[in-house]
Structures are given as structure tokens and as C-alpha cells.
Symmetry: C2
Subunit: 205 residues, 2 copies
DNA sequence: TTAGATTTGTTAAAAATTTAACAGCTATTT
DNA sequence: AAATAGCTGTTAAATTTTTAACAAATCTAA
């Protein structure tokens, strides 16, 4: 399949979660407009995305929820799953771990890192926290390919260097300080304050 | 000024933060390509955004940092500032409060809400936590216009109803369950798992 | 069995966003 | 003072993303 548009990939993840919810409620089929309502996007967009991933629904019955979840999995998930580290065991790091806890996605947080002795060598919801000094070692041992940076902003950039050196493939930066892209490392930034300021701006008008 | 593109608004917020950093380092002027490098976008995009907000730099000296910060402020900030509530005092809620703590933006978190007695009637970094029952009362008293939802997903939707009823103007939903839009309420969604799955997808390829 | 109502799949059009191209200043160098 | 180099501001082109439009398929009901 040719490369999917970025925005479609983002939505696939949402579709799957929504579909799982519906499945849990006992539904077996769903219409494009139902998905659309749940995610407040348009039905056309849903159908188009579904077309792009090469799935087909049944006319007048809609899409088979299980099949679609399955298919999205083959697209979004890697076979072995992606193994993730959270760096920074503050509130945000913990929030991530809590979020992922007991969700059975192919994404798995397999380690946390911090420099605070109070946090090190303890588990938080099954995720063990190591001293940051052990980063490289554990990354190899646990085959970690993605890192979430949830540290104070000033350490983000040197950390990214270390991660790259140690062979990271993707970084999700939740720090307000943007990182410069590194060759061969997929970088996604998210800035909580920007989200807020955006809301604030549109509230004004 | 006519309505700015959404994406530009998002970037203005980032520009300002970056400019503040540079100002703190003693710089007084900055070129478009410098801003661009710091945020890893293109210089053209920076110049275009700056054009859209009606600012001009000096040729061969670049943009005056202070002036630009000032101007972005007049666009992004409201005069009185926006007063914000965090709902849900879990890790994520705390992360938000911590993030905003002592940042002198016009955005101010003025209250938190929860239902857990251990959290209620205490302050976390100067933000007082009320029982959720007092939501409407406090919202009016403190003139809150934006709410960040950081609760467990299942309560998000009824909560949004209450918020709307109480006159909220904007909602930032950090719950994985998407909310349906409500008339007159600006809604911004952010799903941490989607961010992660996006990274995971692009790491694969 | 014909008409009507739904709902999908897809192509085409529209809108939003990003990138390119380049003219026009201003400082600097020769 | 003429040539050069560096940057800005802006219009135009390209790309990406969303929305519209509609034919085709399937069920329902008269």
C-alpha cells in the first residue's frame, strides 16, 4: 500500500479506539456516520479513510467492527509491537504510564527513567524506573525504539542526542522546548501550552 | 485584522515562547531563519506568519524581539487574561498546573476540581482544589471561561454538558474519549495515545 | 416488481496550508 | 559609487487535506 496521509494515520488510531468501545457495547457493525458522530468529523472523511486502507463495508449494514479493528492493527501495529520508554517520572510521565496501563495495544511502555533517587528502582503500575545513567544499557536490553520525553525542558536537547546515539527511532517530545530533528529519528512535538493558547485565542473571537 | 489561519495561531504561541528564550539570552533581534531553525520549520513560513500579523522586521537586522513578543501578546492574549479550570487532579491535571506555574502568560489556572476527598480543599502549586459539586458556583465566582478536562474518560461527556450549561467558552479535552461539539463552545481535543501511535507508525517505515 | 430510502465507494472540486520565487531594500566591500 | 550579498515582504504555485457529488448496490415496502 502506498503511504497513507499523516492525518489519516492519526485518525486510524482514533477509529480503532472508538470501534473497540462500540464492540464492547455489543455492536458488531457500524455506519460511517456513526463513527463520524462519535469522533465529530464527517462521514465522508470516514469513508475516504476506510477506502484508503483498502477496506470495504457492506451496503446497508455498514462496516464489520471486528474486521476493521483487525485491519487497522495490521497497518498501525508492528508485528512485535513497539517498545517505549518514558523519560522523566514526574506527573506527566506518570500520566502516560497510567494511560497505557492495561490497554492492550501493541504499544508497550517497558521502562521509565529518572534521576530522582526517590523514584528510581521502584515500579509504577508495572513499569520499572531506572536511573537515567542506565539509559543506553536498558534501551538495548529491552529493545526500545520510541521514547517519550517528559522531563524538564532544559534537559530535552542533550537527552535527544543520547537517545539518537543509542539508536532510538522515534521521539515524542512533551516538553515546551522544541527539538531539532535528527537524521533517521522521527520526531513528534506536543506542547500543552500551545494547545491551551489556541483554545484561548478562539474563545476570544 | 481578519481571522488568522488556525495553524498560524498555533505557531504564534510557539514563536512567543522561543522569542522569550532568546530575549533571556540577551538577543535583541532575530532573523526569520533563526526562528525557523529553533522551531524546525521553514524561514518562509515564519516570514509569512509575521506578515499575516502585520509586523515588519528591519532589513538585515531581522525582527525586534521585544516588539514582536509585545505584538503577539496583543493578538493572542485577551486584555484581562483567560481564566482556566483544571478538572481532574490526577497526574495529568497536576502536570498542567505544574507546567503553568509561575509562567507569566495571560493564561491563568485559577481552580482545580476533583471528587477525591484526599485532594479537595488543598492547594497544589497555588491552585486550590474544590469538590466537583462546586463547579458551577466557582466558575461564576472566578469568571472561568476555559476548562481542561483531565478526568477518567467516562465522565468527560456529562461533564462537558455541565460546563456548557455553566457558560464555559472553551474546552481542552485530554481524555481519549472524543466529545461531541456543543454550540458556542470551542473544543480542542488531544489524545496522547494517538500521538504515540503516530510516532510508532512512522517509525515502522 | 417497482419505487423509495439508505449507505457505500470513488472521482472531482474546494479549501487550507506550505513552499517557492523573486523584487526590493540596506548594509558592506571594492 | 558600483557591485555584491543578505534578508524581508509578498504574490504565485504546489501540495495536502477536506468536502461535495453522485453512481451503484441493497434492503423495504407498497
Amino acid at each position: 500500500m502506498k503511504r497513507l496521509p499523516d492525518k489519516t494515520v492519526e485518525r486510524l488510531s482514533q477509529y480503532r479506539r472508538t470501534l473497540n468501545n462500540q464492540l464492547a457495547k455489543g455492536k458488531t457493525h457500524i455506519f460511517s456516520h456513526e463513527i463520524a458522530n462519535l469522533l465529530h468529523i464527517t462521514p465522508v472523511q470516514v469513508r475516504r479513510d476506510i477506502m484508503l486502507i483498502g477496506y470495504s463495508g457492506t451496503l446497508r449494514k455498514g462496516y464489520d467492527i471486528s474486521e476493521m479493528i483487525e485491519l487497522i492493527g495490521t497497518i498501525i501495529d508492528t508485528d512485535q509491537g513497539v517498545r517505549i520508554a518514558v523519560i522523566g517520572m514526574g506527573n506527566l510521565g506518570k500520566a502516560f504510564i497510567h494511560y497505557m496501563y492495561e490497554k492492550r495495544t501493541k504499544l508497550k511502555i517497558v521502562a521509565a527513567f529518572d534521576v530522582n533517587p526517590d523514584k528510581i528502582d521502584k515500579s509504577y503500575e508495572d513499569v520499572y524506573c531506572y536511573h537515567l545513567d542506565k539509559l543506553e544499557e536498558i534501551m538495548i536490553e529491552k529493545e526500545i525504539s520510541v521514547a517519550i520525553i517528559a522531563t524538564p525542558p532544559e534537559v530535552a536537547s542533550p537527552l535527544a542526542d543520547r537517545l539518537k546515539e543509542a539508536g532510538i527511532r522515534g521521539i515524542l517530545n512533551y516538553t515546551p522546548r522544541p527539538l531539532s530533528p535528527r537524521e533517521g529519528v522521527y520526531l513528534e512535538e506536543h506542547d500543552m501550552i500551545t494547545s491551551l493558547e489556541k483554545v484561548a485565542y478562539f474563545v476570544k473571537n
